[in-house]
Amino acid sequence: MSISRRRFLGWMGAAGAGFAAAGRAHAGAPPRGAGNPDALGVLFDVTRCIGCRKCEEACNRVNELPPPERPFHDLAVLEKRRRTDARTYTVVNRYTGIEGARGPVYRKVQCNHCLEPACASACFVRAFTKNADGSVTYDESVCVGCRYCMIACPFEIPTYEYDKAFTPRVMKCTFCHPRLVQGLLPGCVEACPAEALTFGRRRDLLRVARARMAQSPGRYIDHIYGEFEMGGTAWLTISGVPFRAIGMREDLGTTPAPELTKGALGVVPVVAAMWPVLLTGIYAINRRRDRIAREEREAAVAAALARAEDEAKKKLAEALAKADKDKKAAIEREVKKALEEAARARAEASAPAAPEGGGETKPA
């Protein structure tokens, strides 16, 4: 077969038909709760993190990212709140003055590798892939650079190389997918000296997290962040302080990103199918109304003409009749006149010659 099904579906989508759209709303991510049961994850235990930035250093090294402005052992950078950027896949932030916490609390930020990634759902060239190992990776070879993934990501993780004129890329943590494939640990996990990062199968990590909570009552908030957030993430976080106090949003909800756009995408084929019918119908109704109006007008004109003609005929007939009568009357008058004249002439002729003046004294 010369065209693949995928390409064919793509064309259908491109043609505005969008048949492909509704059915593929989950592309790039397994359905909620299902997917690969052996998918991997990392459990980040906030209570163990000491803010040493060794994970940042390892991440920078294994991903061959550009050297940082200030060295990784310089902990003064923790004074400022930082985020991931085009040269940094992961950062650790320090939070101080949190109620109920003894001393500062550190939190590591990196891609959470959603079970149903918003970035993958939003990408219009499918540059993001949810891999079987749980990682979400990016393919720069197709990326147009629209940055819709950055709009879509609820964790504000993807970043962009704005300073590159010709080959800007979206940059984000890969879960060290290339290392996982080789059987190696993610760089940050391997480097963590405090065992704040635990690597394993996601379903096992959920058990580990609950076990820690059970073992140390009061140490943790009773919530595993990432178990259900945005449909669940491969990376999980447990903490001794409220998550919002360490910059983690608690209002994200449990709806996976693709669900949010499912309705809008589902409407597409409906509009594509029904709008032409509806619009052609409206056009046809209007044309029919025009036609009937024209026919009625024509009929009315014809009727008016017929009526006018009838009236004209009647008038003509009347006129003719009248003329006839007039003519008859005129003839009668003339005949009468002629008869009278004839009678008079006869009378004059038969009477004896009267004196000349006799006629004048007797006017007619």
Binding site: R7, G16, V144, Y162, L260
Partner: protein, 389 residues
Amino acid sequence: MPFPKVTLERPRWTPFNIVAAIIVVVGLAITGIRFTQGLAATTRLSDYNPWGLWIGFDLLVGVALAAGGYVTSAACYLFGLKRFHTAVRPAILTGFLGYALVVLALHYDVGRPWRLPYPFLVQQGTTSLLFEVAACVALYLTVLFIEWTPAALEWLGLKRARNLVVRLTLVLTIFGVVLSTLHQSSLGALFLIAPSKLHPLWYSPYLALFFFVSSIVAGLSMVIFEGALAHRYFHHKMDEAHRREADGVALGFAKAASWVLAGYFVLKVVGVAQADAWRHLASGYGAWFLVEVIGFVLLPCFFFAVGAREKNLKIVRFTAAWAVLGIVINRFNVGLIAFNYHLPAEERYFPHWMEIGISLFIVTIGILAYKFIVSHMPILYAHPDYEPH
């Protein structure tokens, strides 16, 4: 028939020409910087704010304000409002120019503009609403181009080609309305995926409907607004039919806009109710939301109605400009102002002057192209050699 000769008059240094020349020169310079130094050199885009003025204005506002094409052609050819016939060509022209400029602006905004055909040719991300927007905009630009060609073909004297295209009018109109419905709404639906970033007063599952309905308002208002401008500056180009129908178009569109705005207002209220966002009305964002919904939806709705009822063209034209501004505010709110509302002030976006420069540059190109086409092609008058369609 020989092709028409384009006689270029010596440019006169009118204030308009001087300002346009400056904007074009500066725009070309910024273009040079953008495509050699990258986005960082010309924009204030950041990792928190990946979309700025070139999306908020050039794409969201541009597409909405170019809605006059589908609205007018649908009114005339599908809904049988034939008295609006002379308004179709100018509306198609501005729609076509609008979409062409939207696509031009996207070349500035995306990181690798030469890959813009990738979503169609290389790999289709059909789960993305942006894919739908891209596909519909590309197709609709083509439709608008074809719809516009009769004017150009009449100008060029290509009678047979022109008559062939004219026969497609109905199909193109229907196709245009379908595509417009889809992408106007999808521009709103783009933000459905980010409920945590868009302020709850603006985020709504009805976003797609909001964008579609308000695009009708934008289209109607822009036709009135552009008509008023055309009357001021191109009166001599208009034929008898155009001048006779123009007031009727403005009044008829004002009446329609008033009704659609009324529906849109109710929808916006339903949106707040659905999200149960009433409590947010008492905040600063709430005040701004009320300014938008009352000051730029409800009031224009009322004044359109008054203008149409009193047959007062002054009110109608003023209200059209007002409603257009309302659409601009709405798109800015969704794309820029109420987006990332949760971020601290120092992380919020404000455009670089070069971003504003490019947006002005693109609008100016549009006006210059409109001027050229209206001056040379039968847009505001019917070509004497051809039957109107």
